[in-house]
């Protein structure tokens, strides 16, 4: 067992995942990072390029019923892994993790996707209600208070 604090990094596949893994690449030496991503099968963590990745049910605005299995699966991962903090770049499953994490007293950090240049994403607005730290990657979307700009993946 390493003495490094545990971090759960969760995002949707595609661009969200590219951004998440870029951030985590620089955090790997400081944290024990466990990943979660929507995928086909929920189950125990598999290994993807050396990363421990849990698969959870995807959810979007079009299929809200999936919130139930998604929430239960994320809760399972949180209880099993007991991370010190949660980091997400979106979308909806990340917001679920932020909500559940905050209820469990886990530190929560949201980085809104760089693709959201006009406004904060819909999932981001949900996460914002609960996230300890809420970051945008565009300076003009920051309000200097509860929406911060501290840099970008690109």
């Amino acid at each position: 067992m390493s003495g490094k604090p545990k971090l759960l990094a969760i995002s949707s596949p595609g661009g969200h995942w590219i951004q998440l893994t870029r951030l985590c690449k620089d955090l790997e030496n400081r944290y024990n990072i466990v990943y979660a991503m929507p995928g086909d099968l929920f189950g125990t963590a598999s290994t993807l390029k050396g990363k421990k990745v849990y698969s959870v049910t995807d959810v979007s605005a079009d299929d809200k019923w999936r919130l139930i299995p998604c929430s239960l699966q994320v809760l399972y991962v949180l209880l099993r892994e007991r991370p010190k903090a949660i980091l997400s770049t979106g979308a909806a499953p990340g917001a679920v993790a932020i909500w559940l994490g905050s209820l469990l007293g886990i530190r929560t950090i949201w980085v809104d996707s760089i693709a959201n240049v006009k406004q904060i994403s819909r999932a981001g607005r949900l996460a914002q209600k609960r996230a300890d730290i809420f970051l945008t990657q565009w300076e003009h979307l920051s309000n200097g208070q509860n929406i911060l700009f501290k840099g970008a993946v690109l």
Binding site: D26, L27, G151, A152, L154
Partner: protein
């Protein structure tokens, strides 16, 4: 040398054809990564898929990158300090499942070193002035590093 790459998920024959024909008319050497495309370039060399190493070699040998509007190629181009032109796939032409690549042009075009084209005319206009297209002056690493450091501090706070 120009390097055009369309990712691995879908073909993007329209972009490959535009670049191939332009390269032929202007006697410019190029290399194309065309995925499962039906159009086979006549003027530039091409591969359907390539290893990451081969991809990086072609990218580094090129002075200009042309790509579908995908985040992966943009990241690689910026990290290698190459100017990149991105064109969006169109849902109406059966090139993608939706039009999110068009939305992508909006933010991608705000990044230094990234140029956007949504039509053949816009693409050719950029190609005509290819010697003026600038790579980003700074590697993207500094913006990322400050974000990562802030996240690290925020977790430990």
């Amino acid at each position: 040398m120009i390097f055009v790459a369309v990712g691995t998920q879908f073909p993007f024959d329209r972009l490959i054809r535009y670049v191939d024909e332009w390269a032929g008319n202007h006697a410019v050497a190029g290399f194309a990564q065309i995925a499962g495309g039906a159009y086979q370039p006549q003027h530039v060399r091409w591969e359907r898929f390539m290893s990451t190493d081969a991809f990086n070699q072609h990218l580094q040998a090129a002075s200009l990158i042309i790509s579908h509007a995908g985040m992966g190629n943009i990241i690689t181009a910026l990290e290698n300090r190459k100017p990149i032109i991105v064109m969006n796939r169109q849902h109406a032409l059966g090139e993608h499942r939706n039009d999110h690549q068009l939305d992508g042009l909006e933010w991608m075009g705000k990044l230094p070193g990234v140029y956007t084209a949504s039509t053949q005319e816009e693409l050719y206009a950029l190609l005509e002035q290819r010697h003026e297209l600038q790579a980003a002056s700074a590697a993207p690493g500094s913006r990322k590093q400050s974000l990562v450091d802030f996240i690290d501090q925020a977790i430990r706070a």
